[in-house]
Assembly symmetry: D3
Homo-oligomer: 251 residues x 6
């Protein structure tokens, strides 16, 4: 008996679309849609690095994350009005930046900073994992722009990178890619960031007023692995010609 919203299977992702060149100014611009979750991921290249990295001949990647006030069911106060960024926002933007840095060869981009902005236009669960998946495409496009401008010679990416969520529902069922309705009930919520060749970049599993066993952990990791294979395929399609640059790397 299937109880998931929209009759999804336990191991079924929501529909994913990745629209490239979404806005005109950024070096890489993507609108990623995962079910009803929509995030604009823009990658901007700045020709210098933060002070603590100057003179090392390598680059840096930093990410910022925000939601439009009415991306959610209830309107949220803007963080600019509150005058500070919430703990949740900081955690997410640190996660996105760290994940991207794990697959980018910072030595090959020169003293440049890549600013990745993930702005959630509409939220329905999984905004941080959609941000990582979309941001990866955006930075490949941005590096593509640098290659076309002959600012760098090769694609400084070691592998594909994507993320999804898994969780345990109150009835102890493990499921893949939680939408908001599921996320708000789940006992355990786990975000997995992986590379194209199946290595972990980040695992964050959390029981909120609950715990989980080793067996449940293994089941969740299996679901994530299954879902991420499909997501990497979507990224390849979206990247078009730039996917070839990554293929060469894999060879």
């Amino acid at each position: 008996m299937n109880m998931r919203p929209n009759n999804r299977e336990i191991n079924q992702l929501r529909d994913i679309t990745i629209e490239t060149d979404y806005t005109k100014h950024p070096e890489g611009s993507v609108l990623i849609t995962v079910g009803d979750t929509k995030v604009i991921c823009n990658a901007s290249i700045e020709d210098r690095v933060p002070p603590f990295m100057r003179g090392q001949g390598k680059g840096w990647i930093t990410a910022e994350y925000a939601m439009l006030p009415r991306a959610t069911d209830q309107r949220n106060i803007r963080e600019s009005s509150k005058g500070k960024v919430s703990g949740r926002t900081m955690e997410i933007q640190r996660l996105i930046g760290r994940s991207l840095r794990a697959v980018v060869d910072l030595d090959k981009i020169g003293e440049r900073t890549v600013w990745v902005d993930c702005d959630v236009v509409q939220a329905d669960g999984g905004t941080r994992t959609a941000s990582i998946t979309g941001a990866f495409v955006a930075i490949v496009l941005a590096f593509g722009t640098l290659i076309e401008k002959k600012a760098i010679k090769e694609m400084p990416i070691r592998d594909y990178l994507a993320a999804t969520s898994v969780g345990v529902m109150p009835n102890d069922t493990e499921i893949l890619d939680l939408q908001y309705e599921e996320d708000s009930q789940a006992k355990v919520d786990m975000n997995i960031v992986m590379t194209g060749n199946g290595e972990f970049v980040e695992i964050q599993g959390t029981g909120e007023e609950a715990t989980f066993s080793v067996t449940q952990l293994q089941t969740m990791l299996g679901l994530a692995d299954h879902g991420l294979k499909e997501i990497f395929q979507k990224q390849k399609e979206a990247l078009g010609k730039w996917a070839g640059y990554l293929k060469e790397k894999e060879a």
Copy 2:
């Protein structure tokens, strides 16, 4: 000899589209496109008013405005990271809120606050006027939602409301609807907010290190009047059935 970008005439607006129901959560949601300027205008209804207005039986409208960091050619630092809202942002959101309040009958919406969020996804000049034009459509849609929920009985709108910019170029030509390339060179920049029946709601004319004569003022007002008539037509089309509710009012 026509010197405007895209061969526009002196009194010609850029292409305008107004997409309604752009996101699913807000009571009214619009994506307005004016040339390459794109703004998401969301109207959210909250069932209470700020403390200073409680117990008066009337409502309130407040507006917030922001740009995605890479809405512009150069990336801007987020105001949430800076921990404060800039003077420019404050000016714009005060202008949007004041303009909307001029055509809404606050006595007819009960003790409710309408939060209008104008988030610029892509900027190419005229973001504040596009915000006002789009926000007007969003609040009509939001009031439509309240009517459908039978929370209010009639459309609490006195008239259409839209805005455009006019300016004086360095060669002393007055032009309508400045895009960024023009805006950055103009000697004088003027924003006009008008109602459907041709009354002014707001005039803000500014010479930056320059001045303008009474004659130039008259010419600019004429150009604005011409452009706004076309914009009101676009709003009517976007509003669909809700335009009818406004028509009755005009009768």
Copy 3:
């Protein structure tokens, strides 16, 4: 039948006095009194410009505005205690700075910043326009100090600059120079900044929950023009010998 407070005519300004050399430290210091509105306008010269302007050989003018907590009928919380500057304050200080820059030849003052501080000691309406009128006198005095020190050769001012307010009362009468009692009732409030030769520098007309017609606009512009002629005369008297430096420029 005259209904204005103090039996003022519709086109009559309040009494204006401009006391120069009000405090001893600033390069230019003025106390301007417009009816019961009193503003200290101090102009300070700093021998450098903000980072974004360095190396261009030209100067900059920046203005700040504040009210003493009890300048008004009810005490206001200090903005330093609140930890941020309000939107109203930012709008006003941006307006003052922009207006002054329109008549100053920034190329002729070298790499210097003029800080203009307008501090309202007592408020009774029209504090921003009084600030502009007083600040103009203060900067002329400050440039006079530079001339006396032989730091610059000529008065870097293109023309006189002053401001006043006009408005529309609930009974649709247009009036000049609104005091607080009038301002708080007015349907339309317009601030006009003009140069000595009758050019506009800034027009800001606002209907708060109201609108205004082209005819009303014309009437208000006429009242402002009438009032500003008298104000320019007051400035000339206050400037004493420095008025001569401006006269030469006019020749």
Copy 4:
């Protein structure tokens, strides 16, 4: 051989004037001038107390202190622009409030807050002591307003209150009422707040990279006592009829 600026004696105060009813809105308003130091002291009555004091039937006094940016020889950045109040400002406003509370019978003013704002228009040393001396007069006037409105029955003041500074110069001379030129050289700086009957309310003596002996302390206390007697006389004259209310108390 007299070496003080303006040929002042070691135990001679600068000229002091106390102008009452300086602005029209506050319940008590004073401009105090001590030499070239000028401070506006406004006392505002609010008909409620802070949350932590509610329901006790007694009042509260709180003081705020600020300087106009160009009150000093070099322009200071506004604390509102910096977004926070400096340690120096906090120390001074805590001192003013504490001093005033020492002579006011808070049980006799009902659940009211007296806000005392000391705004330095021009600084030449001794701004904090001038603020205390002027603030005392301002609160007596404010309580006078309450008596005239029949909000309270008697003057809730136990005694006169005033302050002055003393110090030790590099040549080990002790002097009274330091002006800025002296203050900036002094080895030791001491502020004394006293009541009319010669009791101490506050003593703050500080050696900046220096120390002082018991003998020097005694000499400084003697100078302060001498100077304060003259200051109490100035306060009495400024208070006019309200001085009578204080006299009765002394009886």
Copy 5:
């Protein structure tokens, strides 16, 4: 060949001591020492809950984390001076609070908030896991205080809770309980929070510019499990009589 500092085995914890009743004011106070890492963990009981939880008859736990400025090799600027809490701090305090809530029965503590303050006196790696381990002891002691005061009837704790770190070194060795020298070189860093019966509460594994395989994950989980068994024993000893209250629960 053993290469760890202090000749530690791969699966060997540093010395751990847990000193109870460390300061006199808190309901529960602990100094935990893990090698050279020293953290004061204080649990304070407040007899009310945050606004969003009022009226539900249950309690709340919130944690704060900070380091003394010179807890580390280089002095850090205080977060109070910077005026904001860093992303790292927020992540850690959210983690501590979430972990504690997983083993506390919030329904059994009434409408009370437990404030857990973890202040790092000296840091040598593993401050967040030491904080969780020490904070658990502190809250048990605090609940013990409530039991002694007869404010609650039974120990509202479902199980023991502790945390440790594991990681992968550049030579691909997996190790337990990283000290700073190791942590700063590790390719992968993982924090594990577990309950006494071996369930996970939180897993956070991170590759900084690196990735890890499923096999490495399994090895790290095994090391953590091994180390935590020893830590739970230390907690039991520290808890003294209160360990009995937890034992009963296990029965």
Copy 6:
């Protein structure tokens, strides 16, 4: 009849211990205990001075003070969470820094900043005076570290420095070294900072809603002098070999 808590005499200090080398990272680290008041005083050496002092060849000392949230009977909100430092904290850290600078020969430490962090672990009155007494020992140790590293040649300290409090109780008894229970009732509170040879560095005497006479002042100064002699002895013992370096100076 002795009424002090713990049967202390009027002129009796609480027990004082000064533990050196309390933590391992700082150049000088001390835990001072005065009765139940415990403060960690760490002195950190930074090899540069603030911008306003560069190029003068001399050093600077700056102090920061904080309390753990539960150092007191009621938990205090962290200043980092409030986003600003309180007036009380600023006053105390300014006092500590100023006091230390009075006995240090800043010309002899080169362009270095000494950061002194006083963190109160447990508070029972007299935290600011304990901080000064402990901080003095910490900086001597830190300068000792510099001497051992041959970074400076001699101990740049002119004399011992310590502080204590005196006060007047409601029954007009003057007492030495107030603990919290006494401090909260005292009519007058006075902090005295002195050098080893009996010179004053700072006197801060305050009546909160009370005043004090010259006689009471003299009695309090006598008590402080008596107590400080004992405290200097404790410092000498704690300093061990470094006390010798100070002795030479006295010779």
